[in-house]
Amino acid sequence: MELDSIGVNNTTSHNVRYDPDFDPSSDDDDSPPFDPRNPRSAFSLFPLENLLYCEDCHQIRCPRCVLEEIVSYYCPSCLFEVPSSTVKTEGNRCTRNCFQCPICFASISVVSNSDQVTAPTGPYSLTCSYCHWSSKEIGLEFDKPANLTAQFAKQLKAAAAENPKPKYAEFSTYEENFARLKSHYTSQGIGAAGSGTGGLGVGRGATDDYGTSPGTLSRLMGLYTGGGHVGKRNVSGLSARGVGRDANGKKTELTEMEDVEIVGDEKDIIDRLIQVEFDETTTQAQNLCQSRQPKFKSQLRPIATLLRTKRSKRCRACRHILVKPEPKVQSTRFRIKLVAMNYIPAINISRLDPTTSYHSLPPLSTHQFLLTVTNPLFDPISVSLSTPQKTPGKYPSIVTILCPEFEVGANTDAWDEVLKEDSSGEKKSRRGRGDRDRSDGTVWDSGRNWSTVVIEERDEEDEKVVQVPIFVRIEYEAEVGMDSGDVGDVPGGDGRKEKKEHAYWCVLYLGKIGRMHANYKYLLPRRGVIHA
C-alpha cells in the first residue's frame, strides 16, 4: 500500500458483495474478519469518495457494481455533441476541425499561411502554439479553414493514389494490405461481400456480417488448420477438403493467401534510420498515438481529437439511477448524483502524539491514534466498531478500540453548535482532553456531528504497514418516507420513525512501523526499575 494514503486513512469496503464469507444477517463473531492483505481485497476496497449509494437497496455501490450508460458523445476541444449514429459510422474522433499536435499533443489551430494580416487567405495550415509544429513541415496545407477532416482525408487519398511510395508510404501499404485481404476473402467466398457465394456464409442465409454461421466457421477453420478434420467430417457445404462452390455451382479450391511482403519496407526503414538523426525518430508516445505507428517524425500526422462521453450510472441490482449527468455538453452539473459520502459516515485517523511520524512508528511499542467518525446524516447515529483482536497477516498487531460503541450527533445546521456553546458558556467538545486515563472506555472528544475515540495498536514486528480492518455498524432512526423507496407506504411522512442500519467493513492504514534499532534490547524501557 502506498504510504501516501496514510493521511487519508479512509477506505471503505463492501461487505455483502465482495467479501463472500461475510453475511450481514449472521452474527459478527461467526464470520472471519476482512483481510486487507488478501489479494481479493484490492478489488473491493475503495476510498469513500469513489463510492456511490443506492437509495433503493440501501447499499453502497462501488465502480464494479454499477452499470454505465453513455448519455452523449462530445468533442472535448470544440464541445460539439456528436450523435451516436455518427459515432458508429464515422468513428470516435472529431470530424470537424479539432486536431492534436503529433509532437506534444497540445490542441492545434488553423492558421493562414499568407502574409496578409487583415484579410487572411489560403493556404491554411495547422499550427501548434506550444511547440511550433506546423503541418507545413509534412507538406499538409488546406484551401479552406473549415471542414479540415474531409480535406485531410482527400489529400491523403490523392497522395496515396498518385505517389504510393515516398510520401505516404506506410499509408499505402496498409490500404493495399487491406484491399488484398478483402479480395482474397471475397474470392474464397467468406464474408459479407455480397458475392452470392453458393454453399457458404451469406448465400446460406446467415444473417450476421461476421461469418459466424457454422458453414463459414468450419470453412475458416479449414483455411487455418489445413482442413484436416473438416474434410473428414464432411460439413454441409464442403463436399471435400477445402472445397466450396461458387455462384455457378462450380467447385472452387480454397487457397492460402501468399504472405504480405513487408520485408522491403523494413529495409527502407533501416536505410533511413542510418541516415537520419535520433531526433527525427518518433518517441514511443508519439508512435502509439498514430494509427500506423510511424518510425520517423516526418511521417507523423495531426491526430483528430478523441471524443469523450458523458455516462450515467445505474445500480446493478435494482437498475435505479445513481448518477445522471446533464446531457448538455457545456454543463458540468449532474441531475442525480448519489454519492456514498452523503450517507455513510467518514472515518478519519489522526495521531494522538503529534511528534510521531506515520512513516516510521517506533517499533515494539504501543501507539495511540484518534479515530473520528463524522456523520453526514440529519439523524443522530449510534456507531459500533469492532475489530479483530489481532490484525490479519503473518505478523499481527494487537488492536484495541477503547470505546467501541458511541453516539454521533446529527448533521444539523453548522451554526447550532456555535449558538449552543454561547448559551451554555462552556464548550461542548473537548470533553475527554486533559490528563484523564485514556482507558476508561469513553468518547475522547465530540462535536456537532462527529465523535472521536482512541484506538490503540501494539505491534510485534518492525517494518510493516499497519492495516486494521474495522467492522462498522451504524444504527439510526429516520423518518419513514424520507427515502424515495418508501414513499408508497406513508405518503406525507407522519413523523413515524423507522430504524435503519448500515454495516460494512473498512480498512484503516495507521502507518508504517519503523526499522528496529540493532541494539533495541538495550533501548527498551526496563520494567521493574524504579526511579528513586
Partner: protein, 173 residues
C-alpha cells in the same frame, strides 16, 4: 559539480544603475533597474511594470522591439554582460541569467522558444529555431512562422505602447 548559486541570490546593496534608454522605448516607472554596470535599452522595447534588471555583475544590453514582461528578472552572470537581441519576448516571471539571447526569441529566453520550467544547462548554446517544451524536450522549429510571429510581436508592442505610461526620466541619473 554542485549547483552554482544564482547571482540573483546575492544580497548586495541596491544601487541605481547607469542607463542608456532609447527615446522610443517604453519603460514603466515601477520597473527596477539596479546595479553598477550600464543598462542599455533599444528602440521600441517595452519594459513592463515590476520588471527587474540587475546589472550588479555585468552590463545588460537589450535590443530593439523587445518585450520584457512583468516580474521577470534579467541579470548578467559576469562582466561579459547579458545581451538580449532584437524582437525578443521575455514572458512573465522568467529568469534570464544567460549571456546572449538572440533575435526573435520567446522566453516564457535567435528564434527559439523556451517554455516554462524547461532547463538549459550551464554553458549550453541553444541553436536557432530550437523549441524547448515539456520536460526540456527539444525540437527544431521548421514551420517557418518567424515572419508571422514578428508581425504579431510588432502588433503587441503597438498595443502595449498605448497601455504603458513611459517614465524614462525616473531612471536617469
Amino acid at each position: 559539480m554542485p549547483p552554482r548559486t544564482r547571482p540573483s541570490a546575492s544580497t548586495e546593496p541596491v544601487s541605481k544603475s547607469p542607463v542608456d534608454l532609447h527615446p522610443a522605448c517604453v519603460i514603466d516607472g515601477t520597473a527596477q533597474l539596479t546595479g553598477t554596470y550600464l543598462i542599455r535599452v533599444g528602440a521600441n522595447t517595452i519594459i513592463h511594470p515590476k520588471a527587474r534588471l540587475n546589472s550588479s555583475n555585468g552590463p545588460i544590453t537589450i535590443g530593439e522591439s523587445c518585450i520584457i514582461s512583468e516580474r521577470c528578472m534579467l541579470q548578467a552572470a559576469d562582466t561579459n554582460g547579458l545581451v538580449v537581441g532584437d524582437a525578443v519576448s521575455i514572458e512573465c516571471n522568467a529568469v534570464v541569467e544567460g549571456r546572449e539571447v538572440k533575435e526573435g526569441t520567446d522566453v516564457e529566453v535567435g528564434n527559439c522558444k523556451l517554455c516554462p520550467m524547461t532547463e538549459v544547462a550551464e554553458q549550453e548554446v541553444v541553436p536557432d529555431y530550437t523549441v524547448m517544451y515539456g520536460y526540456s524536450e527539444r525540437r527544431i522549429d521548421a514551420s517557418g512562422s518567424e515572419g508571422a510571429r514578428r508581425k504579431f510581436l510588432d502588433k503587441h508592442i503597438e498595443a502595449l505602447k498605448a497601455l504603458i505610461v513611459s517614465n524614462p526620466a525616473k531612471f536617469k541619473a
